[in-house]
């Protein structure tokens, strides 16, 4: 009112400078490595140390608790003969194929459940229930239906991961603030444009959480299926390798198999899901969880 406009302009510019959140300075690479890379290495080294000490104390017989070195030798043997790569390839390509199929099935399913009231009422709780059903429970039925074939394995993987992915998408859509689609409508977006440019991107964090969980479920379902459904025609995956170790009473092989299963789980998390999640959350200013 009494203030001349150019003074207000300056006040405005000053406010912008003062009020804009200050972005955190990025720490140098070695500092970030010190913070995020070193603790897990130390924890792993400690674990091996405790293991070695337990073995040395000889409380448990050798066929139950092997020496870390013996397991390491088994790993080196299977890697140097190329056996490990064959095993990993068999399991990984099954898991990736199964997971991809699960994504293709679960995404439209999740969209339907989230947006169509009747569908949600009809199968929403069934899907949540399926999530708590261990997928290994499907193995006996699947063997009766499909025999000991790859179909059995894929069926179990799908039953494990589809509910997680669909539920993640539903949760993601449910958590979209209602104001955003409303703004879209005010801006003249049709149903399709609104779904593509507002609803799906807004639901992305929840969807990604569902994908991550879906991957974990498909990986463990695959292991369960491979351990139970073994036959020469299925080839040797990680589950069969583990099963063989148990049949041969070879504890080195068993521990090596468990180690490889873990390695794949951690590897996929670190190489694929962690960076994806980080990029998505960081773009939204949700840096608290990193």
């Amino acid at each position: 009112m009494a203030t001349p406009p150019d003074t207000l302009d300056k006040v405005g510019a000053g406010l912008d400078a003062l009020d804009a959140p200050v972005g955190a300075r990025k720490a140098p690479l070695w500092q970030r490595f010190l913070k995020t890379g070193v603790p897990p290495i130390i924890a792993f080294a400690l674990l091996i140390g405790v293991w070695q000490a337990l073995w040395a104390s000889a409380i448990l017989p050798e066929f139950q608790l092997p020496a870390p070195g013996d397991v390491w030798n088994e790993l080196v043997r299977s890697i140097s003969t190329g056996e490990a790569f064959g095993i990993l390839w068999t399991s990984l390509h099954r898991a990736v194929l199964g997971f991809a199929a699960a994504v293709v099935i679960a995404t439209p399913l999740g969209l339907l459940i989230a947006k169509v009231r009747v569908v949600r009422a009809a199968i929403g709780s069934l899907l949540t229930g399926l999530q708590s059903l261990p997928s290994v429970a499907w193995v006996p039925a699947a063997i009766l239906w499909f025999g000991v074939t790859p179909s059995t394995i894929y069926f179990v993987v799908l039953m494990g991961s589809v509910p997680s992915i669909a539920n993640g998408l539903v949760a993601g859509i449910d958590q979209v603030p209602p104001l955003l689609p409303r703004v879209g409508r005010a801006l003249g977006a049709g149903r399709l444009a609104s779904a593509r440019h507002i609803l799906l991107p807004a639901a992305l964090p929840g969807y990604l959480a569902g994908l991550k969980q879906g991957w974990a479920f498909s990986w463990r379902s695959l292991m369960a299926a491979e351990i139970i459904a073994t036959s020469p025609q299925l080839g040797t995956g990680l589950g069969q390798y583990l099963h063989n170790g148990s049949s041969l009473n070879d504890i080195n092989m068993v521990i090596a198999a468990i180690f490889l299963i873990l390695l794949v789980g951690i590897g996929i998390e670190l190489l694929l899901f962690r960076p994806l999640e980080r990029a998505v959350l960081r773009a939204r200013g949700l840096t608290g969880a990193l």
Binding site: M1, P5, L8, D9, V11, G12, A13, L15, D16, L18, D19, A20, P21, G23, P177, L179, L180, R182, V183, G184, R185, A186, L187, G188, A189, A193, H197, I198, P201, A202, L204, V280, A283, R284, G285
Partner: protein
């Protein structure tokens, strides 16, 4: 023939928005609430009208009806402008898009090509003095800056039509959540933008001072049901702003105390 054409041309020039007997009832017969009852309102192209009222006067409902987000139970609504743009109390920016892309989104829905989108978005961000913040995301901006991005986006969606139809901006208490200094700056910013773009604005507020400062005309609504109580022309108040503010305040208090039981 020519005469008819002239009258239609005249009427489109004369009114941007025309509301006649707008009535809005929520709920069904037993527990029905009459939110708006026979609201008449005329807004000229480029006019700045403030809708003032206490809570429950249905001012937001009225705005939603004009915006097409809600339908009136009865009454007539004529809009002679391009698609009306709406601004809410929250900026409601898409958190995953940069400021420029948020503005572009409005143009994208209108089918504007990529390059033209980008150019227009930067123009509008410059208009609200956020040209430097085009590539920042909402969480990197202050509350006032976010609301200015929302203003740029609203302008983008209403000034998009090529035929030069007059623009209409609907604002629902857009500065209510801001601190006093920021609100002051944004009010003057809005006036500047309004003067340069010649957009008709319907501005909903419960702040009498804000209404008198911004509007050319202040329309007071009663509460439950909402009706137009009185209008004030505040373009050139003879007695100065303060007296108009006092007068409107007195009326507003009367409207509110009428509900004491």
């Amino acid at each position: 023939m020519t005469a008819t054409l002239e009258t239609t041309a005249l009427s489109t020039v004369d009114t941007a928005v025309e509301l006649a007997g707008i009535r809005k009832v929520f709920g069904h017969s037993g527990s029905a609430v009459v939110a708006l009852d026979g609201v008449d309102l005329l807004v000229k192209p480029g006019e700045f009208v403030c809708l003032l009222g206490a809570s429950g006067c249905g001012k937001s409902t009225l705005l939603n009806i004009v915006a097409g987000l809600d339908a009136a139970t009865s009454g007539e609504l004529r809009i002679n402008t391009s698609r009306p743009a709406v601004m809410f109390q929250e900026p409601a920016l898409m958190p995953w898009l940069t400021a420029a892309r948020n503005v572009e989104l409005a143009l994208r829905f209108a089918g504007v090509g990529r390059l033209a989108r980008r150019r227009r978005a930067l123009e509008l961000l410059d208009l609200v003095r956020l040209g430097d913040a085009a590539d920042k995301r909402p969480h990197e901006l202050s509350g006032g800056m976010r609301q200015r991005v929302a203003l740029a986006r609203a302008l983008a969606s209403t000034t998009v039509s090529a035929d030069g139809a007059p623009a209409l901006l609907l604002m629902d208490e857009p500065f209510a959540a801001l601190d006093a200094i920021t609100r002051d700056v944004l009010q003057s910013e809005l006036l500047r933008v309004w003067e340069t773009t010649n957009t008709a604005i319907i501005f909903v507020t419960h702040d009498v001072r804000e209404a008198v400062r911004l509007g050319q005309r202040v329309v007071l609504l009663s509460s439950r049901p909402g009706r137009v109580v009185r209008e004030w022309d505040v373009t050139s108040p003879e007695n100065g702003n303060d007296e108009v503010v006092d007068e409107i305040n007195t009326h507003l208090r009367e409207v509110i105390s009428g509900h004491a039981s």
